[in-house]
Symmetry: C2
Subunit: 183 residues, 2 copies
DNA sequence: AGAATCATGTAAGGGGTTACATGATTCG
DNA sequence: CGAATCATGTAACCCCTTACATGATTCT
């Protein structure tokens, strides 16, 4: 079974660079993603439990003196596969950009994975299609308010497109240039 | 007690133009707000119950033959007051624009209420402050990824500002011109 | 001495979606 | 004759947030 919520993929992503226990995952996400993805400790442990049940993770306990034993998690093949598939899939909705798309950019960058340019390009195509749909809508007898709404949506999409072209694309071009492992 | 979720205010707003029963509220929101605010029938009845308990609504039943009796809801003074206060308050987060801010615009327009220009102007000030905070952030030793994130945020806010100035402001200028009750 | 760090969890509650339950009338 | 409209709700489930529970160690 594959995870459905983006949050679970972020947790999987945190384990792509090696096995970690819960507390380490919190630290990693807190320092690397900062405000891009916030996750409470309690929710993390819930997700880890779920991901293990889904077969995406395996865990083993390292006992320590005078502290609760560490449960160290690592990805299974299924988990790694699910993560990589999620990673290379464009987001569907405009609202998913601020967190989900940016997280994908983060993982491509920090893990030096190939395919970032492809994602940016397919994501651009997804938005171009959406913009086209917004602009070609039947707008006879549309209220002033609905004009305002579609104006809002169109500007939003245009803004994302220009960010993708002018900032995200150059960011992932480094992939080509071999300037890897900066994080 | 005042509602906390925007959805509840939208329901209150649907009753500002007169008493309605649940099914009518659904129709009203469905036709007027379309995709701007979608609400399931089941959730609507939950909200109506909660709003009545909070003292924002009153209801009375109109019995009908061969159909379940209509429960007709109307705003209390507390409900009307809560709605108007919500309406004139700017949204705090960028993510609240696509639904919450647009809904406020809708109600100002369809109810021909005064204060829309003030809201747009204070909302512009809120965003200007936010943009300033983004641009003045300490960005020494910031990772390439975080630069990308802040570039994203800044563009987003700039896009909203230009929409507010170029589209939302003209939209509410009609308030002045006396071109009312178009809906 | 008190705060922060290390380390893991459970429980309650909030707000939302989808599915389910009922049942007459009217339109195509 | 089946689909849409009219009309109201309950129940289960999902994801997330906040609060609670525990307890040693290390830093200030």
């Amino acid at each position: 079974m594959t995870p459905k919520s983006p949050t679970e993929y972020v947790v999987l992503g945190a384990l792509m660079s090696g096995a970690r226990h819960g507390y380490e995952i919190m630290q990693f996400l807190g320092s690397a993603l900062e405000s891009t993805w916030q996750l409470s400790t309690s929710q993390l442990y819930v997700l880890l439990k779920r991901l293990e049940q889904e077969g995406c993770l395996e865990s083993c306990s390292e006992s320590q003196e005078s502290r609760p034993p560490k449960r160290v998690f690592k990805l299974t093949n299924a988990g790694r596969k699910a993560f990589l598939e999620w990673l290379s899939t464009p987001v569907e909705h405009v609202r998913d950009f601020r967190m989900e798309f940016l997280c994908k950019m983060f993982f491509f960058d920090s893990l030096s994975l190939p395919g970032a340019k492809d994602l940016v390009n397919t994501q651009i195509r997804v938005l171009e299609k959406l913009l086209d749909k917004i602009q070609r809508r039947p707008n006879k007898d549309e209220s002033g308010f609905m004009k305002l709404v579609y104006g809002f949506k169109a500007r939003n999409v245009e803004s994302l497109l220009s960010w993708l072209r002018q900032e995200a694309r150059p960011f992932v071009e480094q992939e080509k240039a071999g300037k890897r492992r900066r994080l």
